[in-house]
Symmetry: C3
Subunit: 205 residues, 3 copies
C-alpha cells in the first residue's frame, strides 16, 4: 500500500520539479535532472547519510522511469496542470507524509537513535525540494515558507510515538496521513507559518 | 590509453573551473577549490551514489596534484588562454566523452542496472560543471545550454549498445570519442540545443 | 580535552549559522537546518568522502542537541550577541583549528595518503561554511575572504609535520592552536587575504 502511495508521490514531485525547471527556461535535459532530484533527491541524501547502500532508486529502475517520465510529460501538459492546482497541493502533501514515514522506517531498520530517525524522516521529506531550489539558484523555499518542514517533523514524531506505544502499523499510518494532510491543508488555507527570525545586523563573521 | 586521456581531461577541466572562479574574483584558495570540484567532482558524486569506496581520487594523489596544479597555473597563464579558446573547447569535449565512458565502466563493474549505468556515465560527465556553477552562485549552465549533457547521454547509450553487441573495447572507444566529438563540435558550431521548456505561471507549490 | 573544545566549537558555529539564516529571514525551522549544516556539515561531507560510516553525529545525539539548541537560542539572544562580536571571532577561530585537527585525525585513522589527510582537515574546517552559504544562496565567502581556509591549510600542514617528527600529541595540539589563532587574529586585525584572481573575459565554455 505505502509503496503505491510512494510511486504516486514521486511522480507528483517530479512534475512539480519540472514546472520549477520550466520557470527557469531549462532545456528538456535540465527538466529531467530537476524532476529526478526533486522526487528522489531526498531519499538519496538520506541513504548516503545513513550509509544505506545500495541507494534505493538504483535497485528500482521503475522509480527512475516514473520520475523521468513524469518530468517530461509535464512539458506537454503544463497548460492543463495549472487547472489541477488543488489536486497537486494534495498530492504533494500526501508525498510529504509518505516520504517522512519511509525515511523513519529506513533509519529504524538500521537501528539509529530516535533523534536520527526523526532527522532521517524529515531529510527524506524535504531535501528533494532543497536540491530543486539549489539547481534553480534560489533560496530553499522550505526554509521560510508556510508550514511544510514542520508538518514533516510533527508526522515523524507522531509516527515514532505510536510505534513506541505498540499501536499497529496500519492505524499508525492512517493517523500519520490524517494528521499530516490536515495540518498541511490548514497551513495552505490559512497561510499558517512558523515565526520568522529577522536579523539585519551587518555580517561580521 | 584512456587513463592518459583522463589525466589530460581533468587538467583541462580544472583550468576551465579556475577561469570560472576568476570571473567571480575568488582568491587563490577559492580557485583551487573550484578547479578541484570541476575536475573531480563528477567522479566523486558518482562514487558516493554508487557506494564505490574508496572514492577514486583519494587513491590517486597524482590526480589531485594535476588538478590543483592546473588550477593554479591558470592564474598565471590566463592571458594566454583566451587565445587557446578553440583548443579548450576540444579538450573539454574529449573530457566529456572520457568522463562518460569511465562513469559507465565503474557502474558496469558493480553490476548496476543498465539505466543506472547510463546515469553513472552522465553524472560523471556533467556533475563537475554543476558543482562549479553552484560554487559560483549561478544556475548550472549544463541544464539549459547548447547540447552538452545530451552528448554525454548519446555517448553512453552508444557505448553500452556496442559493448552489448560484443564489439571490442578499442573499436567501441573509438566510436564513442568520434561520435561525441562530432556532436559536440557540431553543437558549438551551429548553436544546436535541446528544446527549452518555458513556464511562466506563478509558483503555487 | 579536544572533545570539549569541539563541543564548544560546534555550538558557536551553529550560532553563527543561525545569524546567517536570520539575515535571510528564515523561519525557525530554517534556522535549525542552517545551524546544523554550518556546525556539522563539514564533518558530514568528510565522513561521506572518506567512507567513514556511520557518520559521526549519528552516533552522538548530544552534538545534535547542542547544535539545534545553539541555533534556536540564538533567535532569542541575537540582540545581545552583537556585543559579543569579538568573542565569537575567537570561538570561530578555535573551531576552525579544532575541526581541522579532528578532520586530519579521522583520515589518518583510515590510512589515507598525506595529501588526502590534509584535504580531510580542510574539508572539515571549511565545508560547513560553504553549505551555510549555499543554503543562503550566496557565493561561499570562504572562497574569497580574509585568510580563513588558508589558516586551516597551514594548521593541517603543521599538525602532520609535527606528528611525523614524533612530537607528542599535546605539544602538537598546543602548537596547532597557537599558530592557527595567531594567524586568524592577524588576518582579521590587518585584513590579510590571499591574492585574488580576477578574470573578466566573457565566458566561452
Amino acid at each position: 500500500m505505502l509503496i503505491y502511495i510512494y510511486m504516486m508521490a514521486i511522480t507528483a514531485e517530479a512534475m512539480s520539479g519540472a514546472l520549477a525547471a520550466g520557470r527557469r527556461n531549462m532545456d528538456i535535459f535540465g527538466v529531467a535532472v530537476v524532476a529526478f532530484l526533486t522526487a528522489l533527491g531526498g531519499g538519496t541524501v538520506r541513504d548516503i547519510l545513513l550509509g544505506n547502500y545500495p541507494v534505493n532508486w538504483t535497485q528500482h529502475p521503475l522509480y527512475i522511469y516514473l520520475v523521468l517520465g513524469g518530468g517530461l510529460v509535464t512539458i506537454i501538459i503544463a497548460r492543463v496542470m495549472r487547472h489541477l492546482h488543488q489536486l497537486f497541493l494534495v498530492l504533494d502533501a500526501i508525498g510529504l507524509v509518505a516520504f517522512t514515514v519511509i525515511g523513519c522506517n529506513v533509519a529504524l531498520g538500521l537501528d539509529y537513535e530516535p533523534i536520527v530517525v526523526l532527522m532521517s524522516g524529515i531529510t527524506t521529506g524535504i531535501f528533494g525540494g532543497i536540491l530543486r531550489d539549489l539547481m534553480c539558484n534560489r533560496m530553499p523555499q522550505v526554509l521560510r515558507h508556510e508550514l511544510y518542514a514542520s508538518v514533516s517533523l510533527v508526522v515523524a514524531i507522531l509516527y515514532l510515538f505510536m510505534l513506541d506505544l505498540g499501536v499497529g502499523e496500519n492505524v499508525t499510518l492512517l493517523a500519520a496521513f490524517s494528521l499530516g494532510l490536515l495540518l498541511r491543508m490548514a497551513a495552505i488555507r490559512w497561510h499558517l507559518s512558523l515565526p520568522v527570525f529577522r536579523y539585519s545586523q551587518e555580517q561580521w563573521d
